[in-house]
Symmetry: D2
Subunit: 132 residues, 4 copies
Amino acid sequence: MEYTSQLRVRYAHTDAMGIVYHGNYYEYFEAARVELMRHAGLNYTELVEAGYYMPLIESHCEYKKPAKFDDLLDITCKMVYDGALRVKLLYKIHCNGILICTGHTVHVFTTVAENKIVKPPKLFLDYFKESA
Amino acid sequence: MEYTSQLRVRYAHTDAMGIVYHGNYYEYFEAARVELMRHAGLNYTELVEAGYYMPLIESHCEYKKPAKFDDLLDITCKMVYDGALRVKLLYKIHCNGILICTGHTVHVFTTVAENKIVKPPKLFLDYFKESA
Amino acid sequence: MEYTSQLRVRYAHTDAMGIVYHGNYYEYFEAARVELMRHAGLNYTELVEAGYYMPLIESHCEYKKPAKFDDLLDITCKMVYDGALRVKLLYKIHCNGILICTGHTVHVFTTVAENKIVKPPKLFLDYFKESA
Amino acid sequence: MEYTSQLRVRYAHTDAMGIVYHGNYYEYFEAARVELMRHAGLNYTELVEAGYYMPLIESHCEYKKPAKFDDLLDITCKMVYDGALRVKLLYKIHCNGILICTGHTVHVFTTVAENKIVKPPKLFLDYFKESA
């Protein structure tokens, strides 16, 4: 389950070094994660309507080359799920074929109602199996 | 009802021109608005717990001089309320006595439950009268 | 000189009211402004390489209806230039045909080298005339 | 070399789950890092004026409990330097004694002029030795 989406760097995301502020790559990871899920047929809003959130318990990024304003980034996002409570997503961002950064996020599922960690819901598992 | 609070510019808020990105001043206005209300004895979280939000219906900023990374900003926030549905807040940001920008925001009160515009709640009016 | 571009609301841009944080619309205005200029054949990076910035001196937004996570927004951006020092851009954001907000920004041109306000450079005027 | 600073969560940093958006903790880490350096007598702006940047090559965060709007966070930042090219900073964020998250960032030094990775400059080493 892997998908590559694109986005363009906004001026708002650059910093005084003239490059994308390191923390903003996590927003790009989010955009890629949402597109991967949409591509698999599972909108994050459906998951929320079904009563589940997918909060992060870990985020990580290694910066190789800086991205700049107006750069068109290719973000490859891959979901790894081994049947446990956690879902891992791996990211690679390229710009014109040059590797900008790699990273990952780890998520759990919680109930919207009680904010309790639960097993991945059937809604998620069904889509994941079909798409894997 | 006026109050001046301080905050320091983070690198995250600068852009590739080496100055604070224009959109970020609205976050500084928010910080000053929250501090003004706290100073008057009214925490925004109390208002939410009482069932009200204070969403914006207008925001405006005029930029005079740029602020930069690590600048310590003085933000003066003044609340103007004429008894109608709307509350207006006026802002002035200075850095070392130099005017950086001026602006305003206009807010209404809505119910958390039904997202309906309502008159300013008693909780707000009481604090406003005492502080004005 | 008018152009409509699209963008999708990221989770990062929502706030605890479950809607897009008011300050983030200015980032959407920026995205639309850059696309309008690109559509006219004028990349903002070219302008910078030619030695000019286009900083804001004013920003304004009126909020009609909230946008939410994953909403696909249509942003119409129109440039108005009357031959003076200032350039005005007007914005309208719709979601599924519903008006979300309207706003404007006012810009001047400054030199990258000396940070001095100057007349709109020929590079800008040429593209503007062709596209108008 | 360790220092604890405080900051308050702004509404702008919350998301539709009603908690601080995960990516924003990196901005809080930055604020704590800058205050640690200031406490040691080394302003980041001095470092830039001396011709050096301190870009990140890695960032990492593990989320334990969510922080919310208006929470007052204590951020402990510790600098670890073993004499090599890289500087590591460790972070712990608490709210009312409860651990919110832990994380780290890894930095190198680059020249502003040529964007080349260089050894930590004397300016940095002198302050680090005095403060360690």
